[in-house]
Symmetry: none
Subunit: 193 residues, 4 copies
DNA sequence: CATGAATGAGACTTCATTCAT
DNA sequence: CATGAATGAAGTCTCATTCAT
């Protein structure tokens, strides 16, 4: 009784994960519209109809995965925010973490449009983390106060996107660091006055 | 006799424009994939087959319009580059011009993914214009030389995208100006004074 | 348990046969180009899309049937060739067998052009059977040696086609026998006696 | 007034001939179904609609040409029949003439199916010519009388088709002559008895 | 829960033919 | 007579979804 997870349930989870993995692989390889449910199930060596025991639609799989990824990112950030390093250092680290996630799932995030205009799978909590850091930096005089926080955040997120979608030959992380430099330099209060 | 363009040809151009307008309207309203050729032609009150007298596919319409828009942007920039104002001022003005175009066609540019990964309809000339300005600024000591030009440009273009896709309540142009401030501040050499 | 073929699979075979039968019927009745896939499926009282669970195209059905027929003919001939009757007698019998098959499927074979120029569904083995018989006859002095074997075979096959596409009122088998007479008389060595 | 053919009419005939030539070229090159009227008129550098001033349909062009070819063949034969050579020699000559025509227009005659089942563009007069020759040969004892005339004719025509559609490497006319040998040998009364 | 054949709506596309200019 | 844009019927094919087994 205590053993809540039966063999049956374990198998269910296993199949679900297989489906998710295969779906993402195919979405990235062939594109979302071009991937059919039959494709997915054939790759998974399962019957077509079985798909509907796990998801309601193709969009559903996508939403499921993107949500997973965002949760994962959020967890990493939450751990970071509790540390005692300076806001600038935090920003740097966040950029690296987010950048890495973005890089790993670059193509995946590109599929976000297929979820319709009002379905970004990330809650507002995500933004809150950033706000608190910027806020901290502005309060202790490290960051300029003339720029609204939301602008700073948008710009910050823009950097990541920009680096992830870059066509330049500069490696991703290097690219990201240059942009971070520009950004922090722009954000920082110039005390030599 | 003097009238080289026959009534027939005038009608053709007229229909082409109608088709473009209606297509874009529908693409923005319903989404690209969701808009069928039949939809377009019904809205235009024309036979379905007529579409193929003007375009080869839906993608074709989109490409046609985006190319138009980019050409229009390029023209505006080329006029600007010949003026004698400072690089910083040029950058400002460019951002404003591009920003305005971007704003006017915000939803349109969002459709760019539907053209496949390597089909952005803007040639390399576009980038060249920016390069020459940054270059000028770096040479006369206004801009930092430690950041590679391509990074600067990517960041710059990222600003526009970021402002255009912003969900914030701050108006677009104001949003853009804040980001420009951040960017120029980050880009500017600030040792002395 | 013993029954390896499930009811489902039996039904599948059944439908496939139905589709083949109906297709051929319609091809013969209305012509190949004039028969649409919707026609076939409506006659079969099945959904249009179901066609594509069994065949890839109309051509595919035709190829399938013609291959079947040719295989059937080949089997009949292979049985015959092992008997010990004289080459002349063999030729006669072959003509009768092929003739009958041809007659039964006269209209069907007329559709062979729709498979493209180089897609006759009969392999080279078919010809080999005839070659061996003619060869035997030439070796034992029954048949003239001045005519190349391939010519003999082509002429022979021509007889069948000619009889099968005849517009004459003479019944098919009689027609065929007359032509066989002409052919064998022409082929036979007749100097001595 | 006496000059019945105006410049206008001459031009009309010229266009008609152009259309016929181009049509046949395309029919042979791309196939009948695959050739569109637009194709033809584009090749002819004329407007699509103009086609209908000359023909009623694609089938119409085909019928027109095939009739022309058959008439041409008939003329050749009619000239031949009046000569005083032996029936055997006549048959030989006819075969050569028909064979040549067939060879020149091999692909064209292959299109004959597109005219529907009951539209062979050759009148009965064609057959009559052959009948009279065979008849002559049977009467003077050259040809066997046991074979019905229509069978002989069908077989004869079959030879030509067989040679024309041959896949063998033997050149067409040689192929034809071999078959003629077989045929005449089979048809000839063997007087050494 | 798994299966996979059946479904049929609906998208795309072609093209013979018409007709206003 | 020539033109060629407009037409829309018709055909092919795809695929998410259902459902009997």
């Amino acid at each position: 009784m205590e053993n809540v997870i039966s063999r049956r349930d374990r198998k269910k989870v296993q199949i679900l994960n297989t489906l998710v993995d295969i779906s993402m692989e195919l979405f990235v390889a062939k594109g979302f519209e071009e991937t059919t449910i039959a494709d997915i199930m054939k790759s998974a060596d399962l019957g077509t109809g079985t798909f509907y025991n796990y998801f309601q639609s193709k969009e559903d799989v996508l939403k499921y995965v993107l949500t997973q990824k965002f949760d994962q990112a959020k967890n990493s950030l939450e751990r970071l925010i509790k540390s005692t390093i300076s806001p600038q250092e935090k920003i740097s680290q966040i950029l690296v973490i987010l950048g890495r996630i973005y890089e790993d799932n670059r193509q995946l995030f590109g599929l976000i449009n297929h979820l319709g205009p009002n379905q970004p799978p990330h809650g507002p909590e995500f933004k809150d983390i950033l706000v608190s850091i910027i806020d901290e930096g502005q309060k202790n005089g490290d960051f300029r106060k003339t720029i609204p926080i939301e602008i700073v955040i948008e710009t910050f997120m823009g950097l990541i996107k920009s680096a992830a979608t870059s066509h330049s030959k500069i490696p991703f992380m290097e690219n990201l660091n240059y942009k971070l430099d520009l950004f922090l330099n722009g954000l920082t209060e110039k005390n030599n006055k």
